[in-house]
Amino acid sequence: MTTLPTEPIPAPLDDAFHPLPEARLLRALNVGDRLYQATLTALALMLPLLLLALVGLLVVKAWPSLQRFGAQFLWTSVWDPVAGTFGAAPMIFGTLASSFLALLLAVPLALGVAIFLTEFAPRWLRAPVAFLVELLAAIPSVVYGLWGIFVLIPFLRAYVVPPLRALLGWTPFLSGVFYGNSLLAGAIILAIMIVPYIAAVSREVLLAVPATQREAALGMGATRWEAVWTAVLPYGRAGIIGAVILGLGRALGETMAVTMVIGNRHDIGASVLAPAYTMAAAIANEFSEATTNLYLSALFEVGLVLFVITVVVNAFARLLIWRVARGAAVGSRAL
């Protein structure tokens, strides 16, 4: 996507150079221009203000909890509303574990989609398949949750977990009872949800790789796959890493689908078959039951931690992607 130059257009000359009546007209028109620019600037300033308001509010509301628990909040695991003790370690663990597991599943899929669509698919197939994959991003989160509860979990229980257990049941990762709602179910749902984002951005990154890269590799006698592996992918590496991190950001903040299938239990365990909890799910589940101020404040602190993590992750991803496609809203159609 080419970026058009947007140099400021020279302002009308001063009155001194225009002794004609038109000059007054020009100035009169200039008022309209100024008004226009002021209006647009005011609208554009709302986003930064919103961000400040969001952060400010989260900090203010989380303050009692921040003061009471300090940094301990992040690594203690007692979450006892009755006793007024709050430690968010299990949900931070659950958020990270489910998101990274999801990445593990989603990255090969998404890169497969992106590489197939840019390098191997026949031309007529590219647009329709890209549209279908982007449709995955259009499915509402709560519908993913519904599908997870009534289709995915029964499927896992019947066809996936027993053979997995037979094969690798001795490892701590597959120990314990499988109730259905579990880290594994959450991670799979998350993986399907973030595939379209990673695929769309990676695809645009790969499309931005100059054709000469491929031609040079093919000209040197590389096979098509070797051209992709040695010339195309390394060229787009920063952008692809950005795409993956963007997907991670999505996974970290996802709420409804995960809440519905992950089991919502304050626990840290190695087994992916055990129920877990995420920060977003904790807010969704407990916010309306938070009866004491401290409880509410602890939930706001969970929100603050979640927000800070996603902002940092997203900012990092954007900087990486911008390096490849400067300033362009890459993948905006999928977002």
């Binding site: 600037t41 986003l47 497969g112 279908l132 509860i149 977003a280 809203a329």
Partner: protein, 281 residues
């Protein structure tokens, strides 16, 4: 040398197949989900489903009329709030956004595009629900609008930037003031693209649930008052899906099918709008 050549060609073929298969898996996932929605949802769809309100669990019949109307109202108000701000920001970024402020706003928009929606939900709760003393559809709309603005801003900017510079110069050379050039020539030319961005944005927030949990809350009855709790399809699906009754699960699938249909319709409309003026690659 020949064996090596054979191996390389074999690897290439194998990886081509693998990549093709991975893509197939992604598309298959989409069809599985959509297929299940149709199979499990369609049988519960009848006229009553669209015109009746929910009945208590155990009673036969009932529908989600209140949720359908609620979604339309909440999303409509959100669009009324979010679209002008989003498009205005997009215009700013495209017209004046080359400086530091432009860079900052663009960056913030991209970063906020990934804000967890639940955080926006508690944000709206604190600013609107708590001071007003009760849950309201309006608070839900505001939360959705907040989610919408960054996305609309960036897609609008992209679309406006695609307008050839010569068009702008021609208008200015004819003596058009800059603001009229921007609105009547540039934005007008990019209109199809902007509409597409808006439709995609609306489609995305139409299915949001998390920001509505503590704002619109949900409502068992039919309500059109913006200052009262209001039901939305997504909230209804959540309640029904996590509830214990078989009937509810059936209703959840049907409601999900309706919501998905709505979102698909908006997505297809967006695609159709962009076809009107081919700017995409």
């Amino acid at each position: 040398m020949s064996a090596r050549r054979l191996r390389r060609r074999f690897t290439s073929g194998l990886m081509t197949l693998l990549v093709c298969a991975l893509c197939g898996v992604a598309v298959l996932a989409l069809f599985l989900i959509l297929g299940d929605l149709v199979v499990k949802g369609a049988s519960s769809l009848d006229w009553n489903f669209f015109v009746k309100n929910p009945v208590p669990a155990g009673q036969a019949g009932g529908g989600v009329a209140n949720a359908i109307v609620g979604t339309a109202i909440i999303v409509g108000i959100a669009a009324l709030i979010g679209l002008p701000v989003g498009i205005g920001t997009g215009l700013y970024l495209a017209e004046y956004g080359s400086g530091r402020l432009g860079w900052t706003v663009r960056f913030i928009a991209d970063v906020m595009n990934g804000t967890p929606s639940i955080v926006v939900g508690i944000f709206a709760w604190t600013w609107l629900v708590k001071p007003m003393g009760h849950f309201s559809a309006l608070a839900g709309s505001v939360a959705l609008a907040v989610l919408m603005v960054p996305m609309i801003a960036r897609t609008s900017e992209e679309m406006i930037r695609l307008v050839p510079h010569s068009l702008r110069e021609a208008a200015l050379a004819l003596g058009y003031p800059r603001w009229r050039t921007s609105l009547r020539i540039v934005a007008r030319t990019a209109l199809a693209g902007i509409v597409t961005g808006c439709l995609v944005g609306v489609a995305r927030i139409a299915g949001e649930t998390a920001p509505l949990l503590f704002t619109a809350l949900g409502n068992l009855n039919f309500s059109t008052s913006l200052l009262q709790p209001m039901q939305a399809l997504s909230l209804q699906i959540f309640t029904y899906a996590t509830g214990p009754f078989e009937d509810w699960h059936r209703m959840a699938w049907a409601a999900a099918l309706v919501l998905m249909g709505l979102v698909l319709l908006l997505s297809l409309a967006a695609r159709w709008a962009i076809r009107q003026r081919h700017v995409a690659r």
